[in-house]
Every structure is written in C-alpha cells, then in structure tokens.
Amino acid sequence: MTKVLMDGNSSIGEAAIRAGCQCYFGYPITPQNELTEYMATHLSRRKGCAFVQAESELAAINMVYGASVVGARAMTSSSSPGISLKQEGISYLAACELPAVIVNMSRGGPGLGSIAAAQSDYFQATRGGGHGDYRTIVLAPSSVQELADLTMRAFDLADKYKIPVIILGDGVLGQMMEPVEFKREAPAQLPVREDALRGAKGRPSRIRKTFTSNPAELEEINWSLFRRYGLIKKEETTWETFMTDDARLVVVAFGIAARIAKGAIRNVRAEGLKVGLLRPITLWPFPDEAVKEVAKNVEHFLVFEMNMGQMIEDVQLSLEGKGEVSFYGRPGGVIPNPSEVARVISRLYYQKGLK
C-alpha cells in the first residue's frame, strides 16, 4: 500500500470504512466537517451501508445506538460542544454494552468556545462523561497516521469489549495533512455480531435495556461493567516513551501536545539537557504503571497540556506522592510552538538543578 496525502478528518473516514464501518451518523460542527463530508461521499452509497446527516448530535448518537442494536459497526463524530450533547447516548451505549466509535475533534471551551484546537475535554472523555458509573476507552492519536491506525483499532476494541470507544483528537489533527498509509482493505462482509437484535428468528426474543427497578440487579450490572474495565486496563493500556532512558526530566503529554513536546525535547537535547517524553496513547485506561516505571529513575515530571491541567491529576495519582510534578498549559485554543515549550523545559531543568 502506498502512502497518500490526506487531512486527519478524512483519514478517519477512510480508516473507518476499511475497518468495516457500516453506518455513520453526524451533524456539522467545525473542525471535523471533513469527516462527515468524506462519509457522505464514500460511505453513503456503499452496499449495506448507511449515512444520515442527523438533525442534532443527540439524534446522531441515538442513531448509532439503533445501528449498534442491530449489529452494525457504527460511528459518529463531533467536536467539543457537540460531544457534550452526545453524552446521554454514550451513557446508554455503555449501560447496554453496545459497541460504538465516537470521534471528538476537540476545540476550545467552555461554552461555544473557539474552533481552534484544545485538549480541555480530557476529564469529560476519561471519566465517563455522561451520568452513571461507567468508562469508555479513550484513544489519543498524535499524527494523521496514528488517527488512521487508532480508528481501525477503535472498531476492534469496541466489538471485543462491547464498549463505546472515543477517539480524542483536536482541531489541528483533524485539519492538517500528512502522508498516511491504510494498513487494511475494507472487508467484503463482516460476520454478524451474535448479540444483534434482528428479529427473533429461530431463537427466543431478546431485550436490550438499561432500566431496572431492582437496585441489586443494577449493582450487579455495574460490577460486571467494572470487571470488564479491569480486563481492558490489563490488556489494552498503551503508551509511547521517547528518549526516556537517560532522562532526568520527563515530559508527560498526549495527542498534538505530545507532538509539540517532541520538537521541544529535540531542541533541548541539542543543548545537552537529558529530557524525555512519556505519551499516553490510551487516556483511559491511563498508563499508570508506565508512569511508575519511569519514576524509578526520574524524579522530575513536567505535564504539558493544551488546557488548564486535567491529565496532570492522573499523573499525580499514578505517582502516589512520589516525584515532583510541574505543569505548563495553554487553554482556549492557543497552540504553543516547540520553542516556547523548550524554554519552559529548560527553565525548569536549571531551576531544579538538574545541570
């Protein structure tokens, strides 16, 4: 397979089709419209597939719910304010143990915010987001190639664990163009999910429900969800380390911020500062063991996020009081450049007497 030049949003669409996505339901919002448009062009007329431009994000996520009920691989996408509206449906998907893929090309907030890239939806994505006790798998790509790869992985994970999976990108990742290689061909036909409700032919009728008037039954449902979450944490936690072997200071960053941090680290490495990067790829489950592992040799951590400090809480929880954690963040859709982050790193490095 050769590489093609593509924007991030479109690459999700192509990767989704190649992962066997049969249904896409969306509602326009910047900066993710290229994905909706890509699906309108490339999915809507495919045999056995469906595309609907819904009347709202609420409707779109509930169309995903309906499609998932009958066993289709279904996805929706939006950006921050629209993702807030989808939380109702995500809670129901989680409660019903239904697979789905939800893309958040996040932008500055709160409120209508801005259309520029931000990472301020970390809490919303990693703590469930809607009402009730549940989690979603959250994948955080940092390049167009990784957007494509993680989109395919998202569909597999959703089916494997019967769980909604969130791809947490941002406006930069969605809009920028990079060479990308799609590592799969679209399947001719996917096997029908065993738990699909397509009419009770040759079997007793089945129910998908979330409501029960019996708290003990609901407690058992919650226990069962969290047993599965434990398994996901064990099996699916992923991260990347970059130049951490001899590092005296490690930057922790995800998504596009990690990409910026890498540039900054290369800059300060050129000046002889021993700095590395730990990049969580799954934000939930968070790679706390990886943080602990790095902390065996490193005392100083700098968490860098394009928000006011959200992932830093997971880093601190992972460290359990050990080490020293500093923070640098730019909220509201401001995108810092590598030299700005390099200055922050180098100031901290000298302040802490690491050189």
């Binding site: 049969q22 249904c23 339901f25 469906a50 609907v52 819904a54 009347e55 709202s56 609420l58 409707a59 779109a60 509930n62 169309m63 995903v64 719910y65 309906g66 499609a67 998932s68 009920v69 009958v70 066993g71 289709a72 279904a74 109702e88 449906g89 129901y92 019903c96 699909a196 409700l197 397509r198 009419g199 009770a200 032919k201 040759g202 009728s205 089945r206 129910i207 998908r208 429900k209 979330t210 409501f211």
Partner: protein
C-alpha cells in the same frame, strides 16, 4: 366451534403492571395481534420508551431495545437504516414524542423513515406522577398545572398528527382511541395499516392512540373512557390525517 378468544403469540404471558382502566394494555394487545396476523413476530424490533410503558419488553415477545427518553425515532432510524430487512416500531408517550423528542420525531417523519410509531396520547405524564404533558387540555388540572392549564401561561395542547401529516415523508397517520370496543377495532385496523405502509416502503407511519389514564386523571375507568369521547376528541379529533395510498397521483 368458532374460536372467539386467543392469547396473541407475540404477547408474553405476563401480568400487566398497568393501572386498572389504563389504555396501554389494550394498545399492547392489539399491536401484538397485528404482529401475529401479519406474521412479523420473528422479524420485528420494538423500541419502548422511558415512562409507564418502559416495561413493554416484559410483554411484547419480539426483540426489544429500550432507548432514552424521546429518542425513539432516532434509534429506529439507525436500526432500520443499518438493517432494512426488519420491521421497526417505536412505542412512545406524549411527553416522549411531543416534548423531549419532538425534533427526532419530526425529522424521522420528514426523512420518510420506513418505521412505525405507536403514539400513546393520554394528556399527562403518567409514570412521574401526573405532570402537565404537551397534550394536556386547556383547563386540565395536573400536578404542575394545579390551577388548570392556562394557555396564556402554559401554552396550548399540541396536535402531533395534524402537525406531522403535511410532511412529505409521511405515508400514514391516523388518530384512534381505545375507549370502546368499536374504537379498539378501528385502532387495530390502523396499526395494521401502519405496519403495511412500512412493509411496502411507503415512508413514515404513525398511529396516535387516545388512551385513558384514570389514575392521573383522578377518575374511575368508566369516567375516563367517557372523558376521552367527551373532552379529548374535541381537541384531538379521531380520523385519518394522511394516507398516501388514498391520494391520487400528482402526475
């Protein structure tokens, strides 16, 4: 000997939890009879709502997927688009369809989704304890209109059948009632016609059922049946509001 009564195959043998005189059990039963008579039990997906009929899945012996309040039409859209070979129906109350889910309902109807909606209009929020519904009549006392619904303050009852019928995607809409044997027979015929529209891929079909709620109307079942005739049908007249099979071709 002629058989005059049979338990519908697609109605589970469970005891209804509905109050005495409630219209839900009748609506459930006649829908199940239609599903049996049209031989749809093994190819139907029902979508029950939150509300009194949230437990509809304990009664309908077909695949059932409960959904969030008001989102029935969107869930039905997703299911039917993803797998058009099944018959999809939503079962929704007036708060569900005409308040919180108005947008989903209108747009599913306007897109001409090949789905069927059973719309129970009892002019009140039943399960939550008798609050004002979008269909509550003027002057009617509920727990949130304790002085009677004053249209200047609380607005007018909304007529969904009249509102949806003009939309081009709508194939069939009829308003019926389940407050007398004659009306129940008509209601069953309407439900059968609505399912037939879906099988024929004609577009969105809906049967609005005026349904007594003696508990929250604070009436006896007999008073409630009468009230449907004497008060409800004045604001919500029974009849066919749209039937594309009856319309002459425009060409």
């Amino acid at each position: 000997m002629k058989k005059v009564y049979e338990h519908p195959k697609s109605l589970k043998r469970a005891v209804f939890h509905y109050c005495p005189g409630c219209g839900h059990s009748i609506a459930h039963r006649i829908t199940c009879e239609v599903i049996d008579e049209m031989d749809l039990q093994d190819k139907t997906l029902g979508i029950p709502p939150p509300g009194c009929s949230v437990f509809a899945y304990h009664y309908f012996d077909v695949d059932m997927a409960e959904c969030a309040h008001g989102r029935g039409a969107a869930v039905a859209t997703g299911a039917k688009r993803a797998f058009p070979d099944i018959v999809v129906f939503t079962y929704q109350g007036d708060g569900d369809l005409a308040a919180i889910g108005t947008a989903e309902t209108i747009h599913a109807a306007n897109r001409g989704e090949n789905t069927t909606t059973i719309f129970i209009n009892n002019a009140v929020y039943g399960m939550t304890g008798g609050q004002m519904a979008p269909t509550t009549l003027r002057g009617m006392k509920t727990t949130t209109t304790p002085y009677g619904r004053d249209h200047v303050i609380e607005g007018h009852p909304i007529r969904m059948s009249e509102m949806l019928a003009p939309l081009d995607g709508v194939a069939y809409i009829e308003r019926v009632a389940v407050n007398s044997p004659a009306n129940i027979r008509k209601a069953k015929k309407a439900i059968a016609k609505a399912f037939q529209m879906q099988l024929d891929k004609r577009g969105f079909s809906m049967v609005e059922i005026l349904s007594p709620c003696p508990t929250n109307w604070k009436m006896t079942p007999i008073q409630a049946w009468k009230w449907v005739d004497e008060e409800m049908t004045r604001i919500f007249p029974l009849g066919v509001y749209k039937d594309v099979t009856e319309q002459k071709s425009a060409d």
